[in-house]
């Protein structure tokens, strides 16, 4: 039985306190409110699962409060408490949407069975939501968002198929923006755990001092501000997959803690004294060279070998040939639909421009470029002129252009990329400022007004 966050609403202090004492000894977290307004205030701020609500209270009575809870917090379960002899009132409350009722004083056995029933209901609802999410993810599962027909990507797909069923840790490497998380999701979707959760965390984006609590969870009172017990990502991933992005950023101490949790499949929440079990598959990703980090002493070798049982390398976009065209077409369709524009198409010159770009930001950069182009373009076609922020199509690079034309074009494009900052452009071109100034004069280049 899972523990619940329970609010007790009763105007009699003795009732509130005794119920709280009893529920807390069973491990539940309990909040108290002596009237309806206070209850509504508290319900707005915290994640309560269940309200035990006395029907007879001065001011806003239990029926009125039940109606307001149903309006504002339909997901919270409500059990009405009523004195012996007021059963009609409890039945009326059931018709108004209460989940159950108790006649006070209640038999401890009756209360325990009811709390168990509510905890089971909470678990069933959570599972139902999870299955619904998973089902929608599984529609066209697997490689739905992973698009590519190039040989390097076909090799990635084959590798995903090979490792998905194996239920062992996988390390995904590749430059930023290549779609490592999509690969992780595809592995999860094709694994035996695909009805469990896929829980992702970017370890590089969470400050070191918060990462432990994010991963392992914490008990109430574990540190200042820990007002409620919170489960961590490891626990959330039970029966599913845990995806640790940017795993190379994890500190040595955290590597030790994670290693222990991975080996024992159990761990302590921060500030906790009872071990929690979680059975998850670990999938990690990094844009760094992990072997080099091991050699530099930044990553423990035992941790590296534990997470790197199998690895998959996702190639950068510039090595994926025609995939740029495939991806660009896919993104155009996607964004056209999203902003309800008539379906657009890229012109051949736009495709040529995209194919020539070096894509240091990989697929993520392409996605952003296409989104911008779809938004700014006015007609049914997206032309190279809608992609000016990538630089103009290089007329001079077609065969037959002279060396002088190519040089002029390259200098001009570099200057434009640097917003005509001569110092920065000269650094990129590998020449000094004076030489660049001579090139600008020689090719009669002028900063646009």
């Amino acid at each position: 039985m899972s523990t619940l966050n329970i609010m007790v609403v009763d105007d009699e202090e003795a009732m509130r306190e005794s119920l709280a004492a009893w529920l807390e000894s069973s491990g539940h977290e309990v909040g108290l409110a002596e009237n309806g307004s206070k209850a509504l205030d508290l319900l707005g701020g915290a994640g309560y699962d269940l309200v035990l609500l006395d029907i007879k209270m001065p001011g806003m009575d239990g029926h009125e409060l039940l109606r307001r809870i149903r309006e504002r917090h339909p997901g919270i379960m409500v059990v009405m408490i009523t004195a012996y002899g007021s059963i009609e009132s409890a039945v009326a409350a059931m018709k108004e949407g209460a989940n159950d009722y108790l006649l006070k004083p209640f038999d401890p056995k009756q209360l325990m069975l009811l709390i168990e029933k509510m905890a089971n209901q909470k678990e069933m609802m959570a599972e139902y939501r999870l299955v619904r999410t998973r089902l929608s993810e599984l529609e066209g599962a697997g490689f739905k968002d992973l698009i590519g027909g190039s040989e390097p990507m076909r090799a990635v797909f084959r590798r995903i198929e090979e490792v998905a069923q194996a239920d062992i840790p996988v390390l995904i490497t590749g430059e930023t923006g290549t779609g490592k998380e999509l690969v992780a999701r595809a592995i999860h979707a094709r694994s035996v755990r695909n009805c469990g959760p896929f829980v992702a965390i970017n370890c590089g984006a969470v400050p070191e001092q918060l990462l432990e609590s994010e991963l392992f969870g914490h008990e109430r009172g574990a540190f200042t501000g820990a007002v409620r017990t919170r489960i961590g990502r490891l626990e959330m991933a039970d029966r599913g997959s845990l995806f640790l992005d940017e795993v190379g950023e994890i500190s040595a101490q955290m590597q030790v803690n994670l290693l222990r949790a991975l080996e024992e499949k159990r761990f302590l929440r921060v500030g906790g004294s009872r071990e929690v079990e979680s059975d998850f598959r670990l999938i990690c990703a990094t844009h760094r060279n992990m072997q080099a980090l091991v050699e530099a002493g930044r990553v423990r070798s035992d941790f590296f070998y534990r997470i790197n049982v199998i690895s998959i390398h996702v190639p950068p976009l510039k090595e994926r040939g025609d995939d740029i065209t495939l991806l660009a077409r896919h993104f155009v369709q996607q964004f056209s639909r999203e902003i309800s524009k008539p379906l657009q198409e890229l012109t051949p010159s736009a495709y040529r421009l995209l194919a020539r770009h070096s894509w240091p930001g990989n697929v993520r950069e392409l996605l952003n470029v296409i989104e911008r182009a779809v938004v700014v373009s006015r007609g049914p076609l997206i032309d190279a002129s809608d992609l000016t922020f990538l630089g103009p199509e290089p007329e001079a690079t077609k065969s037959g252009a002279t060396l002088k034309e190519v040089e002029a074009l390259h200098v001009r494009r570099t200057l434009e990329e640097c917003d005509w900052n001569v110092s920065r452009a000269s650094e990129i071109l590998g020449i000094n400022r004076g030489t660049l100034t001579r090139h600008i004069k020689k090719h009669e280049l002028k900063k646009p007004c």
């Binding site: 005794s18 807390e24 056995k109 069975l113 009872r274």
Partner: protein, 182 residues
């Protein structure tokens, strides 16, 4: 074991309670929890906690009275012959302040045998030992355990209490050890 040497439990009869019951409780707490136990002279029956209309004692004021004046190294367990309840519950076998200083156990319902008969003495004492160790473990910070055979699991009734063995699951045993060393 410096911490264990410092922390002590006082078993206090609240009104008339037979000596055997008091001794059994003291011995079992010492054995299963590992804390030194003193048997204190009886306190008067807690008339202040009596709910006349129910003929039961409210556990909350009794816990408050027991915890008042208990030093930081003292934990108190009150033993009561009368029936015990919480205002919201029809009855309880015992009640404790989780992570607090006091617990109270009633003998009244533990005497219940089959077919309305009184339970044999050995069974009554075994039940009493279970409830006393369970409640005192709450005082040390343990909550109900999900392991069905563990002494810290919640008993839905006297039959389930009888089905429990007088032992902790490994997790709770470890927790007890940690708490008394703290």
């Amino acid at each position: 074991m410096a911490g264990a040497e410092r922390l002590r439990v006082e078993v206090i009869p609240l009104g008339p309670v037979d000596e055997v019951s008091v001794s059994v409780v003291a011995a079992n707490i010492q054995t299963f929890i590992g804390l030194a136990v003193d048997v204190a002279p009886p306190w008067p029956e807690p008339a202040y906690a009596l709910i006349p209309v129910r003929g039961q004692y409210n556990a909350l004021p009794i816990l408050k009275a027991l915890s008042e004046g208990a030093g930081t190294d003292i934990r108190r367990l009150g033993l009561l012959a009368g029936d015990l309840c919480l205002p919201i519950l029809t009855h309880v076998f015992g009640e404790a302040q989780v992570n607090g200083r006091a617990a109270v156990v009633s003998l009244r319902r533990l005497k219940q045998g089959r077919n309305g008969q009184r339970a044999p003495t050995h069974l009554l004492l075994e039940r009493l030992a279970k409830v006393a160790v369970h409640e005192m473990s709450h005082v040390l910070g343990l909550k109900h355990c999900r392991s069905p055979r563990c002494l810290m699991s919640f008993s839905l009734g006297i039959e389930q209490l009888d089905a429990l063995s007088l032992r902790f699951c490994p997790d709770c045993e470890r927790l007890i050890a940690r708490r008394i060393l703290r």
